[in-house]
Protein backbone atom coordinates (compact mmCIF):
# COMPACT_ATOMS: atom_id res chain seq x y z
CA UNK A 1 0.00 0.00 0.00
CA UNK A 2 2.84 2.37 0.87
CA UNK A 3 4.52 1.57 -2.38
CA UNK A 4 1.28 1.98 -4.29
CA UNK A 5 0.82 5.48 -2.88
CA UNK A 6 4.44 6.32 -3.53
CA UNK A 7 4.19 5.30 -7.19
CA UNK A 8 0.93 7.21 -7.52
CA UNK A 9 2.47 10.42 -6.20
CA UNK A 10 5.60 10.08 -8.34
CA UNK A 11 3.41 9.43 -11.35
CA UNK A 12 1.21 12.43 -10.69
CA UNK A 13 4.26 14.69 -10.28
CA UNK A 14 5.77 13.69 -13.62
CA UNK A 15 2.28 13.61 -15.11
CA UNK A 16 1.72 17.25 -14.15
CA UNK A 17 4.76 18.22 -16.20
CA UNK A 18 3.46 16.25 -19.18
CA UNK A 19 0.08 17.92 -18.65
CA UNK A 20 1.63 21.40 -18.88
CA UNK A 21 3.34 20.50 -22.14
CA UNK A 22 0.19 18.87 -23.47
CA UNK A 23 -1.81 22.04 -22.78
CA UNK A 24 0.75 23.94 -24.84
CA UNK A 25 0.37 21.42 -27.68
CA UNK A 26 -3.41 21.67 -27.59
CA UNK A 27 -3.33 25.47 -27.65
CA UNK A 28 -1.09 25.62 -30.71
CA UNK A 29 -2.72 22.70 -32.52
CA UNK A 30 -6.22 24.01 -32.12
CA UNK A 31 -5.49 27.56 -33.16
CA UNK A 32 -3.02 26.97 -35.98
CA UNK A 33 -3.42 23.30 -36.96
CA UNK A 34 0.34 22.94 -36.52
CA UNK A 35 1.74 20.21 -34.37
CA UNK A 36 4.72 21.88 -32.76
CA UNK A 37 7.40 19.24 -32.24
CA UNK A 38 9.64 21.97 -30.81
CA UNK A 39 7.41 22.27 -27.73
CA UNK A 40 9.84 20.25 -25.60
CA UNK A 41 12.70 22.58 -26.55
CA UNK A 42 10.79 25.42 -24.89
CA UNK A 43 10.97 23.44 -21.66
CA UNK A 44 14.71 23.03 -22.18
CA UNK A 45 15.22 26.74 -22.82
CA UNK A 46 13.08 27.68 -19.82
CA UNK A 47 14.97 25.38 -17.48
CA UNK A 48 18.49 26.23 -18.70
CA UNK A 49 17.97 30.00 -18.89
CA UNK A 50 16.57 29.86 -15.36
CA UNK A 51 19.75 28.08 -14.24
CA UNK A 52 21.86 30.80 -15.87
CA UNK A 53 19.83 33.58 -14.25
CA UNK A 54 20.15 31.94 -10.83
CA UNK A 55 23.91 31.61 -11.33
CA UNK A 56 24.03 35.34 -12.12
CA UNK A 57 22.77 35.96 -8.60
CA UNK A 58 19.11 36.65 -9.27
CA UNK A 59 16.88 35.07 -6.60
CA UNK A 60 14.91 32.09 -7.86
CA UNK A 61 11.53 33.74 -7.56
CA UNK A 62 12.72 36.51 -9.86
CA UNK A 63 14.61 34.21 -12.20
CA UNK A 64 11.60 32.00 -12.98
CA UNK A 65 9.36 34.77 -14.44
CA UNK A 66 12.35 36.12 -16.39
CA UNK A 67 13.10 32.68 -17.84
CA UNK A 68 9.45 32.24 -18.79
CA UNK A 69 9.49 35.67 -20.45
CA UNK A 70 12.64 34.85 -22.43
CA UNK A 71 11.12 31.58 -23.64
CA UNK A 72 7.87 33.30 -24.58
CA UNK A 73 9.82 35.79 -26.70
CA UNK A 74 11.59 32.89 -28.40
CA UNK A 75 8.22 31.26 -29.02
CA UNK A 76 7.02 34.50 -30.58
CA UNK A 77 10.11 34.60 -32.79
CA UNK A 78 9.69 30.98 -33.87
CA UNK A 79 6.13 31.62 -35.01
CA UNK A 80 7.01 34.79 -36.92
CA UNK A 81 10.16 33.46 -38.59
CA UNK A 82 9.44 29.79 -39.22
CA UNK A 83 5.74 28.99 -39.02
CA UNK A 84 4.07 32.12 -40.39
CA UNK A 85 5.91 32.10 -43.77
CA UNK A 86 4.82 28.48 -44.35
CA UNK A 87 1.32 28.64 -42.88
CA UNK A 88 -0.32 27.31 -46.06
CA UNK A 89 1.98 24.33 -46.51
CA UNK A 90 0.94 20.69 -46.12
CA UNK A 91 1.06 18.99 -42.67
CA UNK A 92 4.13 16.95 -43.63
CA UNK A 93 6.08 20.11 -44.45
CA UNK A 94 4.95 21.80 -41.25
CA UNK A 95 6.00 18.75 -39.20
CA UNK A 96 9.41 18.88 -40.82
CA UNK A 97 9.69 22.64 -40.17
CA UNK A 98 8.93 22.21 -36.47
CA UNK A 99 11.42 19.32 -36.41
CA UNK A 100 13.97 21.69 -37.93
CA UNK A 101 13.18 24.34 -35.32
CA UNK A 102 13.50 21.70 -32.62
CA UNK A 103 16.92 20.58 -33.89
CA UNK A 104 18.06 24.21 -34.25
CA UNK A 105 17.02 25.15 -30.71
CA UNK A 106 18.66 22.01 -29.33
CA UNK A 107 21.89 22.93 -31.11
CA UNK A 108 21.74 26.48 -29.79
CA UNK A 109 21.21 25.02 -26.32
CA UNK A 110 24.36 22.93 -26.77
CA UNK A 111 26.41 25.93 -27.92
CA UNK A 112 25.17 28.24 -25.17
CA UNK A 113 24.99 25.88 -22.20
CA UNK A 114 27.32 23.02 -23.12
CA UNK A 115 26.58 19.35 -22.71
CA UNK A 116 26.93 18.87 -18.93
CA UNK A 117 23.72 18.57 -16.89
CA UNK A 118 22.85 21.56 -14.73
CA UNK A 119 20.84 21.50 -11.55
CA UNK A 120 18.38 24.10 -10.37
CA UNK A 121 17.55 24.73 -6.70
CA UNK A 122 13.90 24.05 -5.78
CA UNK A 123 11.58 27.02 -5.30
CA UNK A 124 11.50 26.63 -1.54
CA UNK A 125 14.06 24.55 0.28
CA UNK A 126 12.21 22.30 2.68
CA UNK A 127 12.14 18.74 3.92
CA UNK A 128 10.08 16.02 2.27
CA UNK A 129 6.72 15.29 3.81
CA UNK A 130 5.54 11.92 5.10
CA UNK A 131 2.04 11.08 3.97
CA UNK A 132 0.55 7.66 4.89
CA UNK A 133 4.00 6.15 4.63
CA UNK A 134 4.80 7.72 1.24
CA UNK A 135 7.41 10.42 0.87
CA UNK A 136 6.37 13.54 -0.98
CA UNK A 137 9.08 15.81 -2.28
CA UNK A 138 8.21 19.45 -1.55
CA UNK A 139 8.79 20.28 -5.21
CA UNK A 140 5.96 17.87 -6.10
CA UNK A 141 3.54 19.86 -3.98
CA UNK A 142 4.61 23.05 -5.70
CA UNK A 143 4.07 21.40 -9.07
CA UNK A 144 0.53 20.30 -8.11
CA UNK A 145 -0.33 23.77 -6.80
CA UNK A 146 1.09 25.44 -9.88
CA UNK A 147 -0.77 23.12 -12.26
CA UNK A 148 -4.01 23.84 -10.40
CA UNK A 149 -3.50 27.62 -10.47
CA UNK A 150 -2.52 27.56 -14.13
CA UNK A 151 -5.62 25.58 -15.04
CA UNK A 152 -7.85 28.14 -13.34
CA UNK A 153 -5.95 30.94 -15.06
CA UNK A 154 -6.26 29.24 -18.45
CA UNK A 155 -9.95 28.60 -17.90
CA UNK A 156 -10.42 32.26 -17.02
CA UNK A 157 -8.33 33.35 -20.00
CA UNK A 158 -10.08 31.18 -22.59
CA UNK A 159 -13.62 31.62 -21.29
CA UNK A 160 -13.80 35.09 -19.78
CA UNK A 161 -11.46 37.35 -21.74
CA UNK A 162 -11.88 38.79 -25.21
CA UNK A 163 -8.57 37.46 -26.55
CA UNK A 164 -9.41 34.02 -25.19
CA UNK A 165 -12.74 34.04 -26.99
CA UNK A 166 -11.03 35.20 -30.17
CA UNK A 167 -8.54 32.34 -29.87
CA UNK A 168 -11.34 29.83 -29.44
CA UNK A 169 -13.18 31.35 -32.37
CA UNK A 170 -10.18 30.94 -34.66
CA UNK A 171 -9.99 27.33 -33.49
CA UNK A 172 -13.64 26.56 -34.29
CA UNK A 173 -13.74 28.24 -37.68
CA UNK A 174 -10.82 30.37 -38.86
CA UNK A 175 -12.69 31.69 -41.86
CA UNK A 176 -15.73 32.87 -39.94
CA UNK A 177 -13.46 34.28 -37.25
CA UNK A 178 -11.61 36.39 -39.80
CA UNK A 179 -14.94 37.62 -41.16
CA UNK A 180 -15.82 38.75 -37.63
CA UNK A 181 -12.74 40.96 -37.64
CA UNK A 182 -10.41 38.61 -35.76
CA UNK A 183 -6.87 38.67 -37.06
CA UNK A 184 -6.20 34.92 -37.18
CA UNK A 185 -2.50 35.38 -37.88
CA UNK A 186 -2.13 37.40 -34.67
CA UNK A 187 -4.00 34.64 -32.87
CA UNK A 188 -1.48 32.12 -34.15
CA UNK A 189 1.36 34.22 -32.75
CA UNK A 190 -0.39 34.53 -29.39
CA UNK A 191 -0.95 30.78 -29.29
CA UNK A 192 2.76 30.11 -29.87
CA UNK A 193 3.77 32.63 -27.23
CA UNK A 194 1.44 31.11 -24.63
CA UNK A 195 2.57 27.58 -25.50
CA UNK A 196 6.23 28.57 -25.18
CA UNK A 197 5.52 30.10 -21.77
CA UNK A 198 3.73 26.93 -20.65
CA UNK A 199 6.65 24.85 -21.90
CA UNK A 200 9.08 27.04 -19.98
CA UNK A 201 7.02 26.63 -16.79
CA UNK A 202 7.13 22.85 -17.24
CA UNK A 203 10.90 22.98 -17.73
CA UNK A 204 11.51 25.19 -14.69
CA UNK A 205 9.37 22.94 -12.51
CA UNK A 206 10.94 19.63 -13.57
CA UNK A 207 14.56 20.85 -13.52
CA UNK A 208 15.02 20.62 -9.69
CA UNK A 209 13.90 16.96 -9.85
CA UNK A 210 15.81 15.66 -12.86
CA UNK A 211 18.53 18.22 -13.78
CA UNK A 212 18.47 20.08 -17.07
CA UNK A 213 20.46 19.28 -20.21
CA UNK A 214 20.26 20.51 -23.76
CA UNK A 215 18.95 17.07 -24.78
CA UNK A 216 15.96 16.96 -22.43
CA UNK A 217 13.60 18.68 -24.87
CA UNK A 218 12.75 16.15 -27.55
CA UNK A 219 11.73 13.29 -25.30
CA UNK A 220 9.76 15.39 -22.85
CA UNK A 221 8.04 17.03 -25.81
CA UNK A 222 7.06 13.65 -27.26
CA UNK A 223 5.59 12.70 -23.87
CA UNK A 224 3.52 15.88 -23.90
CA UNK A 225 2.33 14.96 -27.38
CA UNK A 226 1.32 11.50 -26.14
CA UNK A 227 -0.60 13.08 -23.27
CA UNK A 228 -2.41 15.31 -25.73
CA UNK A 229 -3.45 12.28 -27.79
CA UNK A 230 -4.72 10.45 -24.70
CA UNK A 231 -6.86 13.51 -24.07
CA UNK A 232 -8.19 13.66 -27.60
CA UNK A 233 -6.31 16.55 -29.31
CA UNK A 234 -8.94 19.21 -28.73
CA UNK A 235 -9.59 19.68 -25.05
CA UNK A 236 -7.47 21.28 -22.33
CA UNK A 237 -9.01 19.23 -19.47
CA UNK A 238 -8.52 16.10 -21.61
CA UNK A 239 -4.86 16.97 -22.11
CA UNK A 240 -4.35 17.43 -18.37
CA UNK A 241 -6.05 14.12 -17.60
CA UNK A 242 -3.97 12.48 -20.35
CA UNK A 243 -0.75 13.89 -18.89
CA UNK A 244 -1.55 12.65 -15.39
CA UNK A 245 -2.56 9.24 -16.77
CA UNK A 246 0.69 8.92 -18.73
CA UNK A 247 2.72 9.84 -15.64
CA UNK A 248 0.88 7.27 -13.52
CA UNK A 249 1.26 4.54 -16.18
CA UNK A 250 4.99 5.19 -16.31
CA UNK A 251 5.38 5.17 -12.53
CA UNK A 252 3.42 1.93 -12.08
CA UNK A 253 5.03 0.07 -14.95
CA UNK A 254 8.40 1.22 -13.64
CA UNK A 255 7.52 0.10 -10.13
CA UNK A 256 5.76 -3.20 -10.74
CA UNK A 257 7.11 -4.45 -14.08
CA UNK A 258 10.51 -3.08 -15.01
CA UNK A 259 12.09 0.35 -14.90
CA UNK A 260 13.88 -0.53 -18.08
CA UNK A 261 10.76 -1.06 -20.19
CA UNK A 262 8.85 1.98 -18.85
CA UNK A 263 9.04 3.93 -22.09
CA UNK A 264 8.28 0.89 -24.23
CA UNK A 265 5.14 0.23 -22.20
CA UNK A 266 4.06 3.88 -22.33
CA UNK A 267 4.46 4.02 -26.10
CA UNK A 268 2.87 0.60 -26.50
CA UNK A 269 -0.14 1.93 -24.64
CA UNK A 270 -0.11 4.96 -26.93
CA UNK A 271 -0.25 2.71 -29.98
CA UNK A 272 -3.18 0.79 -28.49
CA UNK A 273 -5.01 4.06 -27.86
CA UNK A 274 -4.32 5.19 -31.42
CA UNK A 275 -5.55 1.90 -32.87
CA UNK A 276 -8.70 1.49 -30.81
CA UNK A 277 -9.70 4.94 -29.58
CA UNK A 278 -8.10 7.48 -31.92
CA UNK A 279 -10.56 10.13 -30.75
CA UNK A 280 -8.95 10.07 -27.28
CA UNK A 281 -9.74 8.22 -24.10
CA UNK A 282 -12.12 10.74 -22.62
CA UNK A 283 -13.99 11.95 -25.68
CA UNK A 284 -17.08 10.70 -27.37
CA UNK A 285 -16.52 9.70 -30.98
CA UNK A 286 -17.04 12.42 -33.55
CA UNK A 287 -17.48 12.07 -37.26
CA UNK A 288 -13.91 13.07 -37.99
CA UNK A 289 -11.20 10.43 -37.74
CA UNK A 290 -7.80 11.75 -36.85
Amino acid sequence: MDLFLQYLITGLTVGSIYALLAVGFVTIYNVTGVLNLAQGEFAMIGALSCVTLVNLGIPILGAIPLAILITAIIGFGVERLAIYPARNATPIILVVITLGVSIFLKGMGLIIWGSSPKSLPPIVESRSIQFFGAVINSQSIWIFILLFVLLILLYWFFDKTFIGSALRASEKNPHAASLMGINTSTMSTIAFTIAAALGAIAGVMIAPLTDATYEMGFFIGIKGFVAMIFGGMHSVPGAVAGGLLLGVIEAFSGGYISTYYTDALAFGFLLLVLFFRPQGLFMRATGERV
Binding site: A89, I97, L105, I111, V226, I229, A264, L270
Partner: protein
Protein backbone atom coordinates in the same frame (compact mmCIF):
# COMPACT_ATOMS: atom_id res chain seq x y z
CA UNK B 1 2.80 1.81 -76.00
CA UNK B 2 6.49 2.58 -75.59
CA UNK B 3 5.89 5.94 -77.16
CA UNK B 4 3.06 6.83 -74.79
CA UNK B 5 5.27 6.02 -71.86
CA UNK B 6 8.06 8.18 -73.24
CA UNK B 7 5.66 11.07 -73.72
CA UNK B 8 4.20 10.69 -70.24
CA UNK B 9 7.40 10.34 -68.28
CA UNK B 10 10.25 11.21 -70.63
CA UNK B 11 13.11 8.83 -71.30
CA UNK B 12 14.71 7.43 -68.19
CA UNK B 13 17.79 5.96 -69.84
CA UNK B 14 19.47 9.35 -69.98
CA UNK B 15 19.29 9.58 -66.20
CA UNK B 16 20.39 5.98 -65.72
CA UNK B 17 23.38 6.28 -68.05
CA UNK B 18 24.48 9.48 -66.36
CA UNK B 19 24.14 7.78 -63.00
CA UNK B 20 26.14 4.70 -64.03
CA UNK B 21 28.83 6.84 -65.64
CA UNK B 22 29.13 8.95 -62.50
CA UNK B 23 29.40 5.89 -60.26
CA UNK B 24 32.04 4.25 -62.47
CA UNK B 25 34.11 7.42 -62.87
CA UNK B 26 34.09 8.58 -59.24
CA UNK B 27 36.73 6.09 -57.97
CA UNK B 28 39.26 7.57 -60.44
CA UNK B 29 38.97 10.99 -58.86
CA UNK B 30 38.77 10.05 -55.20
CA UNK B 31 42.08 9.47 -53.53
CA UNK B 32 41.13 9.76 -49.88
CA UNK B 33 39.82 6.68 -48.08
CA UNK B 34 37.73 8.96 -45.91
CA UNK B 35 35.68 10.35 -48.79
CA UNK B 36 35.35 6.83 -50.17
CA UNK B 37 33.78 5.70 -46.89
CA UNK B 38 31.44 8.64 -47.16
CA UNK B 39 30.33 7.58 -50.64
CA UNK B 40 29.64 4.03 -49.48
CA UNK B 41 27.52 5.35 -46.61
CA UNK B 42 25.69 7.70 -48.99
CA UNK B 43 24.87 4.69 -51.17
CA UNK B 44 23.56 2.74 -48.17
CA UNK B 45 21.42 5.65 -46.97
CA UNK B 46 20.17 6.28 -50.51
CA UNK B 47 18.49 2.87 -50.48
CA UNK B 48 16.47 3.96 -47.42
CA UNK B 49 15.68 7.44 -48.70
CA UNK B 50 14.48 6.11 -52.07
CA UNK B 51 12.00 3.96 -50.15
CA UNK B 52 10.97 6.97 -48.06
CA UNK B 53 10.53 9.00 -51.21
CA UNK B 54 8.09 6.38 -52.50
CA UNK B 55 6.24 6.46 -49.19
CA UNK B 56 6.21 10.21 -48.53
CA UNK B 57 6.42 11.74 -51.98
CA UNK B 58 4.28 9.30 -53.92
CA UNK B 59 1.88 7.76 -51.40
CA UNK B 60 1.77 10.85 -49.15
CA UNK B 61 2.32 8.99 -45.85
CA UNK B 62 4.91 10.29 -43.39
CA UNK B 63 7.24 8.04 -41.39
CA UNK B 64 9.66 9.04 -38.64
CA UNK B 65 10.42 5.43 -37.82
CA UNK B 66 12.45 3.95 -40.65
CA UNK B 67 15.56 3.72 -38.50
CA UNK B 68 13.73 0.88 -36.74
CA UNK B 69 13.48 -1.14 -39.96
CA UNK B 70 17.08 -0.26 -40.82
CA UNK B 71 17.97 -1.59 -37.37
CA UNK B 72 15.94 -4.78 -37.74
CA UNK B 73 17.72 -5.53 -41.02
CA UNK B 74 21.12 -4.83 -39.51
CA UNK B 75 20.45 -6.96 -36.44
CA UNK B 76 18.98 -9.92 -38.32
CA UNK B 77 22.09 -9.95 -40.54
CA UNK B 78 24.41 -9.34 -37.63
CA UNK B 79 22.99 -11.93 -35.26
CA UNK B 80 22.58 -14.68 -37.87
CA UNK B 81 26.07 -14.27 -39.33
CA UNK B 82 28.09 -13.44 -36.21
CA UNK B 83 26.42 -15.85 -33.79
CA UNK B 84 25.04 -18.62 -36.00
CA UNK B 85 27.53 -18.61 -38.91
CA UNK B 86 24.83 -18.35 -41.53
CA UNK B 87 25.61 -17.27 -45.06
CA UNK B 88 25.43 -13.43 -45.16
CA UNK B 89 23.37 -13.43 -48.34
CA UNK B 90 20.80 -15.81 -46.88
CA UNK B 91 20.68 -13.73 -43.67
CA UNK B 92 20.16 -10.57 -45.72
CA UNK B 93 17.23 -12.20 -47.52
CA UNK B 94 15.72 -13.44 -44.25
CA UNK B 95 16.09 -9.93 -42.81
CA UNK B 96 14.30 -8.39 -45.78
CA UNK B 97 11.43 -10.86 -45.68
CA UNK B 98 11.08 -10.58 -41.90
CA UNK B 99 11.07 -6.78 -42.08
CA UNK B 100 8.55 -6.83 -44.88
CA UNK B 101 6.20 -8.99 -42.80
CA UNK B 102 6.69 -6.94 -39.62
CA UNK B 103 6.14 -3.68 -41.49
CA UNK B 104 3.10 -5.13 -43.21
CA UNK B 105 1.52 -6.03 -39.88
CA UNK B 106 2.43 -2.68 -38.33
CA UNK B 107 1.22 -0.88 -41.42
CA UNK B 108 -2.21 -2.52 -41.31
CA UNK B 109 -2.88 -0.70 -38.05
CA UNK B 110 -0.70 2.40 -38.28
CA UNK B 111 -1.67 3.55 -41.75
CA UNK B 112 -5.25 4.11 -40.66
CA UNK B 113 -3.84 7.23 -39.01
CA UNK B 114 -3.02 10.40 -40.85
CA UNK B 115 -0.64 13.35 -40.82
CA UNK B 116 0.69 14.34 -37.42
CA UNK B 117 -0.72 11.31 -35.65
CA UNK B 118 0.92 8.95 -38.12
CA UNK B 119 4.21 10.77 -37.48
CA UNK B 120 3.84 10.19 -33.74
CA UNK B 121 2.85 6.53 -34.15
CA UNK B 122 5.96 5.85 -36.25
CA UNK B 123 8.12 7.63 -33.66
CA UNK B 124 6.56 5.39 -31.01
CA UNK B 125 7.38 2.27 -33.03
CA UNK B 126 10.94 3.44 -33.47
CA UNK B 127 11.34 4.02 -29.72
CA UNK B 128 9.87 0.61 -28.88
CA UNK B 129 12.17 -1.17 -31.34
CA UNK B 130 15.16 0.75 -29.96
CA UNK B 131 14.29 -0.25 -26.39
CA UNK B 132 13.88 -3.89 -27.46
CA UNK B 133 17.27 -3.83 -29.23
CA UNK B 134 18.91 -2.71 -26.00
CA UNK B 135 16.73 -4.82 -23.73
CA UNK B 136 16.94 -8.21 -25.45
CA UNK B 137 20.63 -8.32 -24.68
CA UNK B 138 20.82 -12.14 -24.79
CA UNK B 139 20.16 -12.02 -28.50
CA UNK B 140 21.33 -8.59 -29.62
CA UNK B 141 24.27 -8.00 -27.33
CA UNK B 142 22.46 -5.10 -25.66
CA UNK B 143 23.86 -1.61 -25.21
CA UNK B 144 27.46 -2.68 -25.78
CA UNK B 145 26.61 -3.68 -29.33
CA UNK B 146 27.28 -6.68 -31.54
CA UNK B 147 30.80 -7.35 -32.78
CA UNK B 148 32.36 -9.74 -35.24
CA UNK B 149 30.01 -9.34 -38.19
CA UNK B 150 31.87 -10.83 -41.18
CA UNK B 151 32.57 -9.05 -44.46
CA UNK B 152 30.59 -10.03 -47.50
CA UNK B 153 32.08 -12.12 -50.26
CA UNK B 154 30.68 -12.93 -53.67
CA UNK B 155 31.87 -15.92 -55.78
CA UNK B 156 35.10 -16.03 -53.85
CA UNK B 157 35.67 -12.28 -54.27
CA UNK B 158 36.39 -10.67 -50.92
CA UNK B 159 34.19 -7.58 -50.58
CA UNK B 160 35.91 -6.18 -47.49
CA UNK B 161 37.93 -4.10 -49.93
CA UNK B 162 36.61 -0.52 -50.06
CA UNK B 163 36.48 -0.37 -53.86
CA UNK B 164 34.66 -3.68 -54.20
CA UNK B 165 32.15 -2.75 -51.53
CA UNK B 166 31.61 0.62 -53.17
CA UNK B 167 30.57 -1.08 -56.40
CA UNK B 168 28.43 -3.64 -54.59
CA UNK B 169 26.50 -0.96 -52.67
CA UNK B 170 25.92 1.20 -55.72
CA UNK B 171 24.87 -1.85 -57.74
CA UNK B 172 22.20 -2.42 -55.11
CA UNK B 173 21.24 1.26 -55.31
CA UNK B 174 20.90 0.88 -59.07
CA UNK B 175 18.63 -2.17 -58.69
CA UNK B 176 16.51 -0.31 -56.13
CA UNK B 177 16.18 2.68 -58.48
CA UNK B 178 15.26 0.42 -61.38
CA UNK B 179 12.65 -1.40 -59.33
CA UNK B 180 11.23 1.84 -57.93
CA UNK B 181 10.97 3.60 -61.28
CA UNK B 182 9.19 0.53 -62.62
CA UNK B 183 6.66 0.88 -59.82
CA UNK B 184 6.28 4.62 -60.36
CA UNK B 185 5.74 4.19 -64.09
CA UNK B 186 3.18 1.42 -63.69
CA UNK B 187 -0.49 1.80 -62.85
CA UNK B 188 0.49 1.31 -59.18
CA UNK B 189 2.54 4.49 -59.38
CA UNK B 190 -0.40 6.41 -60.76
CA UNK B 191 -2.65 5.10 -57.97
CA UNK B 192 -0.06 6.15 -55.40
CA UNK B 193 0.12 9.67 -56.78
CA UNK B 194 -3.63 9.84 -56.75
CA UNK B 195 -3.65 8.75 -53.07
CA UNK B 196 -1.14 11.50 -52.40
CA UNK B 197 -3.45 14.11 -53.90
CA UNK B 198 -6.70 12.86 -52.40
CA UNK B 199 -7.31 9.65 -50.51
CA UNK B 200 -11.07 10.08 -50.51
CA UNK B 201 -11.11 10.88 -54.20
CA UNK B 202 -9.12 7.75 -54.96
CA UNK B 203 -11.38 5.62 -52.79
CA UNK B 204 -14.48 6.82 -54.61
CA UNK B 205 -12.95 5.49 -57.82
CA UNK B 206 -13.15 2.02 -56.33
CA UNK B 207 -9.47 1.68 -55.44
CA UNK B 208 -8.55 -0.16 -52.26
CA UNK B 209 -6.41 2.67 -50.91
CA UNK B 210 -5.38 0.87 -47.72
CA UNK B 211 -3.89 -2.05 -49.65
CA UNK B 212 -1.61 0.22 -51.68
CA UNK B 213 -0.56 2.29 -48.67
CA UNK B 214 0.38 -0.81 -46.65
CA UNK B 215 2.22 -2.40 -49.58
CA UNK B 216 4.34 0.68 -50.20
CA UNK B 217 5.03 1.06 -46.47
CA UNK B 218 6.21 -2.54 -46.28
CA UNK B 219 8.29 -2.13 -49.45
CA UNK B 220 10.04 0.97 -48.10
CA UNK B 221 10.70 -0.91 -44.84
CA UNK B 222 12.22 -3.75 -46.87
CA UNK B 223 14.57 -1.30 -48.60
CA UNK B 224 15.55 0.00 -45.17
CA UNK B 225 16.26 -3.56 -44.04
CA UNK B 226 18.48 -4.19 -47.08
CA UNK B 227 20.38 -0.99 -46.33
CA UNK B 228 20.70 -2.04 -42.69
CA UNK B 229 22.24 -5.39 -43.69
CA UNK B 230 24.71 -3.66 -46.02
CA UNK B 231 25.58 -1.25 -43.20
CA UNK B 232 26.18 -4.08 -40.72
CA UNK B 233 28.50 -5.94 -43.10
CA UNK B 234 30.39 -2.75 -43.93
CA UNK B 235 30.99 -1.42 -40.42
CA UNK B 236 31.27 -4.96 -38.91
CA UNK B 237 29.86 -3.62 -35.65
CA UNK B 238 26.38 -2.45 -34.71
CA UNK B 239 25.04 -0.83 -31.56
CA UNK B 240 21.49 0.34 -30.76
CA UNK B 241 22.10 4.16 -30.67
CA UNK B 242 22.60 4.11 -34.46
CA UNK B 243 18.97 3.08 -34.89
CA UNK B 244 17.31 5.66 -32.65
CA UNK B 245 14.73 8.28 -33.61
CA UNK B 246 17.40 10.86 -34.41
CA UNK B 247 18.50 8.69 -37.35
CA UNK B 248 14.89 8.49 -38.55
CA UNK B 249 14.72 12.28 -38.40
CA UNK B 250 17.98 12.53 -40.34
CA UNK B 251 16.57 10.26 -43.05
CA UNK B 252 13.37 12.30 -43.22
CA UNK B 253 15.39 15.50 -43.52
CA UNK B 254 17.49 14.04 -46.34
CA UNK B 255 14.36 13.18 -48.32
CA UNK B 256 12.63 16.48 -47.66
CA UNK B 257 15.68 18.65 -48.43
CA UNK B 258 16.45 16.76 -51.64
CA UNK B 259 12.92 16.87 -52.93
CA UNK B 260 10.34 14.36 -51.89
CA UNK B 261 8.55 14.02 -55.21
CA UNK B 262 11.42 12.40 -57.02
CA UNK B 263 13.72 9.52 -56.21
CA UNK B 264 16.63 11.44 -57.75
CA UNK B 265 15.76 14.22 -55.32
CA UNK B 266 16.01 11.78 -52.42
CA UNK B 267 19.50 10.80 -53.57
CA UNK B 268 20.63 14.41 -54.04
CA UNK B 269 19.31 15.22 -50.59
CA UNK B 270 21.15 12.27 -49.05
CA UNK B 271 24.45 13.26 -50.63
CA UNK B 272 23.96 16.96 -49.79
CA UNK B 273 23.19 16.34 -46.12
CA UNK B 274 26.03 13.85 -45.72
CA UNK B 275 28.60 16.25 -47.18
CA UNK B 276 27.16 19.17 -45.24
CA UNK B 277 27.41 17.10 -42.08
CA UNK B 278 31.10 16.40 -42.64
CA UNK B 279 31.92 19.99 -43.62
CA UNK B 280 30.20 21.47 -40.57
CA UNK B 281 31.80 18.94 -38.26
CA UNK B 282 35.23 19.67 -39.74
CA UNK B 283 34.82 23.46 -39.56
CA UNK B 284 33.24 23.31 -36.11
CA UNK B 285 36.00 21.17 -34.65
CA UNK B 286 39.06 22.66 -36.28
CA UNK B 287 38.13 26.33 -36.71
CA UNK B 288 35.84 26.99 -33.76
CA UNK B 289 37.14 24.15 -31.62
CA UNK B 290 33.75 23.07 -30.31
CA UNK B 291 33.02 19.44 -29.54
CA UNK B 292 29.75 17.56 -29.65
CA UNK B 293 27.02 17.57 -32.24
CA UNK B 294 27.10 21.29 -33.04
CA UNK B 295 26.33 20.60 -36.68
CA UNK B 296 22.68 20.25 -35.69
CA UNK B 297 22.32 24.05 -35.46
CA UNK B 298 23.11 24.49 -39.13
CA UNK B 299 21.03 21.40 -39.95
CA UNK B 300 17.98 22.82 -38.24
CA UNK B 301 18.40 26.17 -39.94
CA UNK B 302 18.81 24.61 -43.37
CA UNK B 303 15.76 22.39 -42.92
CA UNK B 304 13.58 25.36 -41.96
CA UNK B 305 14.88 27.59 -44.77
CA UNK B 306 14.59 24.88 -47.44
CA UNK B 307 11.08 23.93 -46.34
CA UNK B 308 9.89 27.55 -46.34
CA UNK B 309 11.47 28.76 -49.56
CA UNK B 310 11.66 25.59 -51.65
CA UNK B 311 9.11 23.10 -50.39
CA UNK B 312 9.90 20.96 -53.43
CA UNK B 313 13.48 20.57 -52.27
CA UNK B 314 16.77 20.94 -54.13
CA UNK B 315 15.50 18.93 -57.10
CA UNK B 316 12.72 21.51 -57.49
CA UNK B 317 15.33 24.17 -58.25
CA UNK B 318 17.01 21.96 -60.84
CA UNK B 319 13.65 21.10 -62.31
CA UNK B 320 12.74 24.71 -63.09
CA UNK B 321 15.90 24.98 -65.17
CA UNK B 322 15.09 21.71 -66.88
CA UNK B 323 11.65 22.90 -67.84
CA UNK B 324 13.08 25.82 -69.80
CA UNK B 325 15.27 23.43 -71.71
CA UNK B 326 12.54 21.00 -72.78
CA UNK B 327 9.73 23.27 -73.66
CA UNK B 328 8.76 21.10 -76.60
CA UNK B 329 5.05 20.83 -77.27
CA UNK B 330 4.66 17.15 -76.47
CA UNK B 331 5.82 17.43 -72.91
CA UNK B 332 4.26 20.75 -72.07
CA UNK B 333 0.93 19.53 -70.78
CA UNK B 334 2.17 16.57 -68.84
CA UNK B 335 5.09 18.28 -67.15
CA UNK B 336 3.59 17.59 -63.75
CA UNK B 337 3.82 13.87 -64.37
CA UNK B 338 7.58 14.16 -64.63
CA UNK B 339 9.86 13.77 -61.70
CA UNK B 340 11.14 10.31 -62.26
Amino acid sequence: MEKVEAILYGSRWKGFLGFIALICLLPFFISSQYIFTLFILIGIYCIVTIGLSLLIGYAGQISIGHAAFFGIGAYVSGVLTAKHDMSPWLAMGIGMIATFLIAYMIGMQVLKLKGHILALATIAINIIVYILLVGLSDITGGASGLIGIPNLSLFGLELGNQLHYYFLVWAFVFLVILFSTNIIRSNVGRVLRSIHDSEIGTETLGVNVTKYKIAIFALSAMYASLAGSLYAHYINFIAPPTFNVSFSILLLVMVMVGGVHSIWGAMIGTAAIMFLNEVIRFVGHTVFNISGEVEIVVYGLIIVVVMIFMPKGLIGVLDIRGKFAIKSAAKKNVASEKGV
